[in-house]
């Protein structure tokens, strides 16, 4: 069976620069780097079948958002392979609406940026407005919206752009229960259509109800993955245990885990920048020659 999404040993490393100038130095001389690195994801591998709903759980800072950003194509993995068979659509709380335009104009603009034609937008507009359900506020500039209204509008637009792979990054946590219900219904609809959904949330109840499988991320690695009920039970047990720890113990545990993620250049992270090939160098020089020659001729007044 054809897999919808495949993560193969995905590593994401964030460089921790102590100075701004180090950042520029790493651009110019990628080799001479001795910076601290933060391994946000370490050798994460999983496969997802079409039509599956995958939940992702984990404590804060465990790499959930990094996974969702890689899934959405916002950032690229440092190492490893990501195969996506379909168009991903990332729904996050910060929906990226233009504050000075009205809600209606934002709908049009965002749909346009998703590559819909004018006709398609007109067809979907009633559905979107109905789903967002913010009444006459749709004619007001978005900057006057409450955070709940913003996320409703953002969610309404995103689900109506025909995504293949839906990534929901805690977007439901701002809406009230009726809106959440509506979203969950919509997600069920997507599920029935055989779309793949990634669901990132802290709500164990929603997870149990929806997800076929759950991935438990723990400080950059997959701690467990499997049937949702089993994993959620384990995760809930873990959080209970973790919450019972005293303040010092919690801190200690956290620091131990974080220490593993920060590396002082021990792991040889392959540099994505290939070396400039000789041929390429010649080509660059050849392109630079004419303007330089003409500049000299111009100055000499030939």
């Amino acid at each position: 069976m054809n897999k919808k999404v495949v993560f193969e040993n995905v590593v994401k490393v964030f460089e921790l620069y102590s100075k701004r100038s180090d950042k520029i130095a790493s651009l110019i001389m990628p080799k001479k780097r001795e910076n601290k690195k933060f391994v946000a994801l370490n050798q994460v591998s999983f496969e997802v079948n079409p039509g599956e709903t995958i939940g992702i759980v984990g404590l804060n800072g465990s790499g959930k958002s990094t996974v969702s950003n890689i899934l959405g194509g916002v950032i690229q993995p440092t190492e490893g392979k990501v195969i996506m068979n379909g168009e991903p659509s990332l729904i996050a709380i910060s929906a990226g609406l233009n504050g000075s335009l009205t809600g209606l104009e934002n709908v049009e603009l965002k749909c346009m940026m998703h590559g819909l034609t004018k006709k398609q937008i007109e067809e979907r507009l009633p559905d979107i407005l109905d789903f967002a359900d913010i009444g006459d506020y749709i004619y007001q500039p978005v900057k006057n919206y409450s955070s709940g209204m913003k996320s409703r509008l953002g969610f309404a637009i995103s689900v109506h752009t025909d995504p293949d792979i839906l990534i929901i990054d805690e977007a439901l946590s701002v809406g009230d229960s009726t809106f959440t219900e509506k979203c969950l219904n919509k997600m069920n609809e997507f599920k029935e259509q055989g779309k793949t959904i990634f669901f990132i949330s802290h709500s164990a109840g929603q997870m149990r109800k929806f997800c076929d499988r759950v991935i438990w991320l723990h400080y950059g690695t997959i701690k467990m993955m499997g049937e949702s009920d089993k994993i959620i039970d384990q995760y809930v047990r873990f959080t209970k245990w973790f919450n019972k720890l005293s303040k010092e113990e919690k801190k200690k545990h956290k620091n131990e885990m974080l220490a593993k993620q920060i590396q002082e250049n021990k792991v040889p992270v392959k540099n994505k920048q290939e070396k400039l090939s000789f041929l390429e160098l010649i080509k660059n020089i050849l392109i630079l020659i004419p303007p330089v020659v003409m500049a000299i001729l111009l100055i000499l007044g030939v």
Binding site: E108, P290, I299
Partner: protein
């Protein structure tokens, strides 16, 4: 491997409709909170020109340049500059400004600078209309040389596109570049023959200094606009200068596309 220039140009052509509509939204968003709305597009430069006319046309009337009244000579250079300068600064900033918005969707980032240039173009078109009116009022005779105005317009747009592709990438990676660019543009207003005629330099320091000033590509374009409206020389008469401009533009286009494609996947990491 696909040619980077071809790839970037193809993205522009394939999304032509999108560029146009996004540019309209850009203008709308800019003027939404103003009571006069998009009328400011026209009002703003009109006021600026009125000031220049007041200062240089009446109070401190500059002497004629090669038989052309100073005010007419001035605005032929100044009106394009009102388009060039903000376009360069804003389009270089566009990627940094909008990347958070567009990275979450399948949207070619290379369109961002183009959209900025286009949204500024509407105002430029209006101003060019006003320029034509003023030229008629001053009794400029229509001549066949006016057709080269189109050639220089093409030069201007291709140069802006090539330059903004490169500069938007650089200023996303290194924010200081944006600051540098702003000061640079302010400086170039005086180093390009917009407010004064460079023949003054030739008289004082000899032709080499003027030739160095000519390395500035905007010199070529502004000078070209004057030649087309006031009936100067043809664009093919100065072969060396033309070749310099085009080889520079094409080099910018090549390196701009290359660097843009190389870094665009990682733009978010550099924020």
């Amino acid at each position: 491997m696909k040619n980077p220039v071809v790839q970037v140009l193809k993205e522009q052509i394939d999304n032509w409709d999108l560029i146009y509509r996004m540019a309209l939204f850009e203008i709308k968003g800019m003027y939404q909170i103003h009571y006069l709305g998009t009328f400011w597009q026209f009002l703003n430069p009109a006021i600026q020109i009125a000031i220049y006319w007041f200062v240089f046309g009446t109070i401190r009337a500059g002497s004629d340049v090669d038989g052309t009244p100073y005010f007419l000579w001035l605005i032929i250079g100044l009106i394009p500059w009102f388009f060039i300068s903000p376009s360069i600064v804003q389009s270089s900033n566009s990627v940094h400004q909008k990347i958070g918005l567009v990275s979450k969707m399948n949207f070619p980032v290379s369109l961002l600078p183009t959209i900025r240039i286009f949204s500024n173009s509407f105002q430029y078109m209006i101003m060019t209309g006003i320029l034509a009116l003023i030229a008629i009022l001053y009794g400029v005779e229509p001549s066949i040389k006016m057709f080269q105005f189109i050639y220089y317009l093409i030069c201007l747009y291709i140069f802006l596109f090539a330059f903004s592709l490169l500069s938007s990438t650089i200023s996303t990676l290194v924010r200081d570049f944006q600051m540098f660019l702003q000061s640079m543009m302010r400086m170039l207003l005086y180093l390009t023959p917009i407010l004064w005629d460079t023949s003054l330099v030739t008289d004082k320091f000899g032709p080499v200094v003027e030739n160095i000033l000519k390395l500035n590509p905007f010199f070529y374009i502004i000078d070209g606009f004057r030649n087309s409206i006031l009936g100067g020389e043809w664009f093919f008469e100065d072969v060396v200068y033309g070749l310099y401009f085009w080889s520079l533009t094409l080099a910018l286009l090549y390196f701009g596309s290359k660097i843009h494609l190389k870094f665009r996947k990682d733009f978010v990491d550099y924020l």
